[in-house]
Symmetry: D2
Subunit: 372 residues, 4 copies
Amino acid sequence: MILTPLRLILHSMAIENLMSAPSAGLAELYDGFRQEHLVALWTEIGDLMPASPRSRAVPHLWRWREGLLPMARRAGELVPVGRGGERRAIALANPGLAGAPFATPTLWAAIQYLNPREDAPVHRHTQNAFRFVVEGEGVWTVVNGDPVAMRRGDFLPQAGWNWHGHHNVSDTPMAWIDGLDIPFQHYADSTFFEPGPDEVETRDAPPRSRSERLWGHPGLRPLTHLGPAPATPLLAYRWEHTDRALAEQLELEAEGYPATVEPGHAAVRYANPATGADVMPTLRAEFHRIAPGASTAPRKETGSSVFQVFEGTGEVSVGEAAWRVERGDLFVVPSWQALTVATDGGLDLFRFTDSPILEQLHQYRTETGEAI
Amino acid sequence: MILTPLRLILHSMAIENLMSAPSAGLAELYDGFRQEHLVALWTEIGDLMPASPRSRAVPHLWRWREGLLPMARRAGELVPVGRGGERRAIALANPGLAGAPFATPTLWAAIQYLNPREDAPVHRHTQNAFRFVVEGEGVWTVVNGDPVAMRRGDFLPQAGWNWHGHHNVSDTPMAWIDGLDIPFQHYADSTFFEPGPDEVETRDAPPRSRSERLWGHPGLRPLTHLGPAPATPLLAYRWEHTDRALAEQLELEAEGYPATVEPGHAAVRYANPATGADVMPTLRAEFHRIAPGASTAPRKETGSSVFQVFEGTGEVSVGEAAWRVERGDLFVVPSWQALTVATDGGLDLFRFTDSPILEQLHQYRTETGEAI
Amino acid sequence: MILTPLRLILHSMAIENLMSAPSAGLAELYDGFRQEHLVALWTEIGDLMPASPRSRAVPHLWRWREGLLPMARRAGELVPVGRGGERRAIALANPGLAGAPFATPTLWAAIQYLNPREDAPVHRHTQNAFRFVVEGEGVWTVVNGDPVAMRRGDFLPQAGWNWHGHHNVSDTPMAWIDGLDIPFQHYADSTFFEPGPDEVETRDAPPRSRSERLWGHPGLRPLTHLGPAPATPLLAYRWEHTDRALAEQLELEAEGYPATVEPGHAAVRYANPATGADVMPTLRAEFHRIAPGASTAPRKETGSSVFQVFEGTGEVSVGEAAWRVERGDLFVVPSWQALTVATDGGLDLFRFTDSPILEQLHQYRTETGEAI
Amino acid sequence: MILTPLRLILHSMAIENLMSAPSAGLAELYDGFRQEHLVALWTEIGDLMPASPRSRAVPHLWRWREGLLPMARRAGELVPVGRGGERRAIALANPGLAGAPFATPTLWAAIQYLNPREDAPVHRHTQNAFRFVVEGEGVWTVVNGDPVAMRRGDFLPQAGWNWHGHHNVSDTPMAWIDGLDIPFQHYADSTFFEPGPDEVETRDAPPRSRSERLWGHPGLRPLTHLGPAPATPLLAYRWEHTDRALAEQLELEAEGYPATVEPGHAAVRYANPATGADVMPTLRAEFHRIAPGASTAPRKETGSSVFQVFEGTGEVSVGEAAWRVERGDLFVVPSWQALTVATDGGLDLFRFTDSPILEQLHQYRTETGEAI
C-alpha cells in the first residue's frame, strides 16, 4: 500500500481539523479522554516535540547595584533570619516560568544577605549548593563543623546532605550569590531536608578551612581520602588561584601556545580534585575572562546557565535579548539560545550550569560559530 | 552572641508573620520583588524543601479493558495516523499534574493503536522510547530500516535519535504501550525532532530483527560492535526469555537457592548487553512476577514508576490508594510513596521508571520493610 | 652549545665502545656496578627498549590428535589426581620461554584429563581460569557448589578466588583445555591459593547450572545481582549460542548487512553480562569462524594469544611460522607478530588473549592490513 | 565413590613420588613432555601457585651517599651521553632477579647523571616514566617542547609516548632518580621506541613549565583540555606543595582532626588532576612523612614498591631485612613482605609502586596491623 501525495495532504488536513475544529464524534472522544485522565498526543506534539528546544524560560538580566543589592539590604532591615525561613535569600524568578522562584527550569540563583553578627541556622538538604562572592567578606560558612571563609572571588561548593550554617563575624553586612539545583530536585521529587542546631557549631574564623588544608594542594590527594567522591571535598576555590589560572592562559596565548577557548577568551572549570569531574553531580561552575577588545563566537547549548559579572563591563546577547552589563549583574541563558559576549575593557564572568545533568543523561548538544 | 530559646521563638513568630500578615514595609518589599522578578526563599521554602519528597503527581490507575482499549479503538475509527500528528497515541495524564499528558513528572505512558495495513510515519527524536505489548501482534516497528516484530510480552526499546516508524501487516488492529521520557526532556529543554519518510523503509516482516541476530545471544558480543553504547543495541527482548528467566528464579527459590528479591517475588531488569546498564540513559524497565499467594514488602523510592499488569489479578496499594488490578491495567507510583503488591493467583507486572536519572545524579534513595 | 655531526658520530662510537670493548676504567666501573647490584642502562637499552615489541616467546603449534591427547591419555594411566598435584594438567611450554610451563609470557594453556568417576579436588586461587571443550563430555565442574556441565563447544569461565573442583560422572575419560593467567600472576607476585575439600560438594549433574538459570537470558539481569561484577557471573557459554551467533553473522553478511569483521570472518567475544566487558579482568576469550574459501587480513597486536582449532582445517601463519592446522590443534601468537588465517573448507577457532591487561593499562596497539 | 583418608594419603604419597622419584613409565612420559614442549602442572604447582605471594625479588637497600652517587659521578667522567645509549642512567638490579636491571619485577629505578652543559637526546617510548629529585638542580627536562625545571623535592611525571630530552644549563652536574615501568613493558611485550632530535628543542629554562601554568591550579581545569587523560597532563609536582600538604596533615592531626594515615604518619598521593587517579596507568607515586618519634604499623601489599629517603633518618624493616636509612638511600619492598618504618628525628620518604596494575586487574590485596 503506497500513500499517494493526495492521501498525505488529506492526512495533514485531517490532523489540522483534529486540532482546530473537531467533529461531534471527536469532541465526544476528547470528553472521554478528559474524564479518563487521558490526552491525545496528536494535539500536543507540537509543544512536546519541537524541532529544537523551545524553553519557556526567557533571557533575562537582573541588575546588582540598583536592583538586587538594595532589595537585599531592605530585606536585611525587615526580615529576620532563623529556623523556618532558614535563609535571607531572594531568588531570581525567570519571567517565563510563571512566577516560580527559578532562574531557569533547573537552576536556583539567589542573593543572600547576612547582617553583622548574624547566624543562618544549621540544616542539611539533598540539594547541591554553592556560594559565589562578588564583593565583601566577613562571613564564614560552616560545613560539617569546618568553618570556610567567604571572600570576593571565592567559589564555595557544598554538596547535598552536608550540615551547614553561616555566621557573620564582622561589623558589616555581607551579600553573596547562592546557586542550587532546587528547581531540578523539586521537579524530580528527590528532596530531603533536615534542620540542625540553630547556631553554627563553631564561631572560629580561620583564613583557610580544614578542607583546603587537606585538598587544596594541586595534584595531591590525602591518602586518607581515596574512596568514591560524587561531589568535591574541597570547600573553597580561592580567587587568587582562579585569577592566576586565567591570567596564565592569556599569557600562554600571547606567547603563542594553545591555552584559551578562543582568542582572548580564557576559561576554567571548577573541578572535583578526587575525580576531575564537575564539583557536584548536577551543577557545573566555570569562570570566564574575556580580554579587552575580545568577543566570543556565538554558542548554543542544551541546558541552561546563569552568569554573574564579576568585574568589568561588556555587551552580552542571548537569543533576541542584549544588554550592557556591569559588576554584579546576573543574567540567564535558556537552553539552545545563542550567547555572545564582547568587551572593550575586559570582562570577568562567573557561570554555572546544569550541564552535568545533560551530559550524564546523554542529552548534551552544542553548536558554535557564526552560522548558528 | 547566644540565641536564647525566647529569641528562637520570636524568630519563628517573625517568620510566620512574614508569611501570613506582612507589615506595610514588607508588603512594599514583596511588591518590589515582584517588579524585579524576585521571590523570597523564606515564603516558599516549605514547598521547595520539604522534609521528604512530596510529589504533585498522585497514585492513579487506568483500566485497560474498560478504559484505555475502548478509547483507543474509538480513536482508531475517528483519527487518522500521519505526518503532523505522527502517532495515534493517547497518553496517561496524571490527575495531579494539571492536565499535562504526563503519567509522572518524568515519564510518558500512552496506548498506541494501529489499524490493519496502517503505517505510522518515520521520524526521529531525542526522546528515549520503548514499546511493551500486553496483547496482540501484527505490527513491525522499523528502526533504522531494521523491522522488529511486536508480540505479546515483548519489550522493544528504541533509544533517542534513531529513525523509526511502524507498519501493521495484519488484518487486525493492534494496541500497545509506549513509554518515553517526553516529560523529562520537555522539562530539560533538550528535545530535537526530525520527520523522515511518510512510509516505513521496508514492509518486510521477519520473525527476528537483525539486531536480535547480532545481539540476542546470551553473553556474546559481535566483534564488530565494541564501541561505546549509551543505549542498548538490542531492539527486542522477547517474552519467551523473560518468562523463562522469571520461572527459573522461582524454581531456584523452591530448590533453596537465593534467586528472588523476596519470597515469591522474581524480577529481571532489561539490560544493555554492551554495558549491563539500563537499556536507555533515562529509562529503566523491569518485569516482576509475584507467585500465587505471595506479597511484597512495602517499598519507597525516589523517582517515579509506571506499572502495567501483564497477567493475573492482585491487590496493589500506593501511598493512600489501593486497587484490585487485572490484565492491562496501568498504575503510577509517585516518588517516595510506599508500594505493596499481593496476589492470590499470581501476578505478572511490567514496570518502567526514571531511576537511571536519579541514580546517575546521586539522588536515588530507597527504603523497604514494614516500618516505612 | 651545538652538537656537531662529528660530535654525534663520536658519541655513537663512544657508546659502541662502551658496550663492546670497555676501557680499564670502564671495566672497573662495571665491576663496581656488579658489586653494588647496579646495571648500566646504556648497555641494555637495545634489549629493553626495542623499536617495537620483540617477544622472547615464539610462534609454536601443538598437535592435538597425535600430540596432546595421547600424552594426556598416558598421564591418565600413570598419574593420579589428588591433593598436592591438584590437577592432571599438562601445560604448553613456549619454546622461547626457557622451559617455563607458559604458553606465552602471560598465558597458561593446558590439556586436562579426568578418568571415569575421578574427582579433581576442590581449591581456590586468585588466578582467573576457564575451560574450553573441544570434544567429549561427562565432566561437571563444581563452582562454589554449582555443578556446571562441560560439553563440546562450551566455554566455562571461572574467575579468581572461587572454590571449584571437577568430577567425571561418566564411564569415559574426558580431556579439555584449561586457560589461566598463571604466568601473569606468577610474574606480578599476586597469587594466593587455598585447598578445599578433597571431594566436590555435590555429584549432581544437571544439564544447566544455577548460574545459567540466573544469568543465561539475553539482555536480562536478575534484580538480586546488581552490584559490581569484575568477573562474569555466568559460568557457562554454551556452544548452541556461540554457533548460532556466528551463523547469523554470516547470514547477515550474505543478506548485505554489516555484521562480520571482514568478508567471511564472523567473530564473537565472550562478555560479562553484568558489564559487557571481558569475562575476567586479565583474560579475553573469543570465537572466530572463517567461512569456506575466506581468509583474514594480516593483523598485529600487542599482547599474546592462544588459539585452538575447534573444527575444520586451514592454513595459519604467525610471523615467520606457518602451519596447516586441524581440529584440536593449539598455537600461540606472540606480541606484535602478524597473524593470517585461510581456509578452503571453513575453520572454527577458539581464542584467548591477555588483551584486557594491555587495554586497561593503555598499552594496547593493533595494526591490520596487507602492508604490515 | 568416596575418597577414604587412606586413599588421600596414598594420593599425597603418589604425588610426592611423581615429583621426586618417577617410575620408568613416568620418566618416559616426562621425556615425551619435554620433546613436545609440555610441562606437568603437578610437578610445578608448588612454585606456581603458592599459598601467598613468594616473590623472587628480595628486600634490598642501595646507599646514596657512598654508593649510587659516587658510581654516577665516575660514570659521568667515563661515559658520554648520546644517541644509542640515550641516557647516563644506572639501574638498581634486585639481587633476586638474576642480574636483570630491575628493582622489582615490574619497576625500574635508576640514578641518572648529567654533566654541566650536557644534553640527553630526545626520544619517546611507550614506557611511563618520572623523575624525582633528592638534591641539586640545574637540569630542565623538555617534554614535547615544554621545558620543566627539576629541583630538590620535585616529582616530574612523563607518560608514555611523549617526546622528551634533558639539558643541564648549569655549571654543576646533577643527579636524580628515574622511575619507569620498563620491566613491566618488557615482560608484557608492549614497548615501542622512537628516537627524536639529538638536541632538545629548546634551551629555555623557565622556572615554571607551560603544563604547570595550565594545570597547576588546585581544583581548576582549563576548558581547552576536557578530553580523556589516561596520564597526568601536569608535568611537575613541586616540593613546596608537597611539603605544605604534609605539614598541614600533621597540624590537623595535632588539632584533633582526622587527616593522617596513622598517628604521626602523613601521606599524599600524586594524582592526575584530570581524573583524580594515579599519575600514570602503571605507576603510583606517593610521599610519606613520618613525624619524629613515630612509627608505622606493619603493612603487606600485593605488588612492589621502591622508596627513596628524601630527608631524615630512620629504621626500616622489610620482611626479614632491616636497615638504618638516611637521605638518598633507596630500598625495595617486594610483594607481600611486611614493611615498618620508625624514626626518632623524622623521616620523609618518596615512594613509587605498581599498585595501579594490581588494582585495575583486581589483584590488589593489603593487610595492616601487628598480627601480620
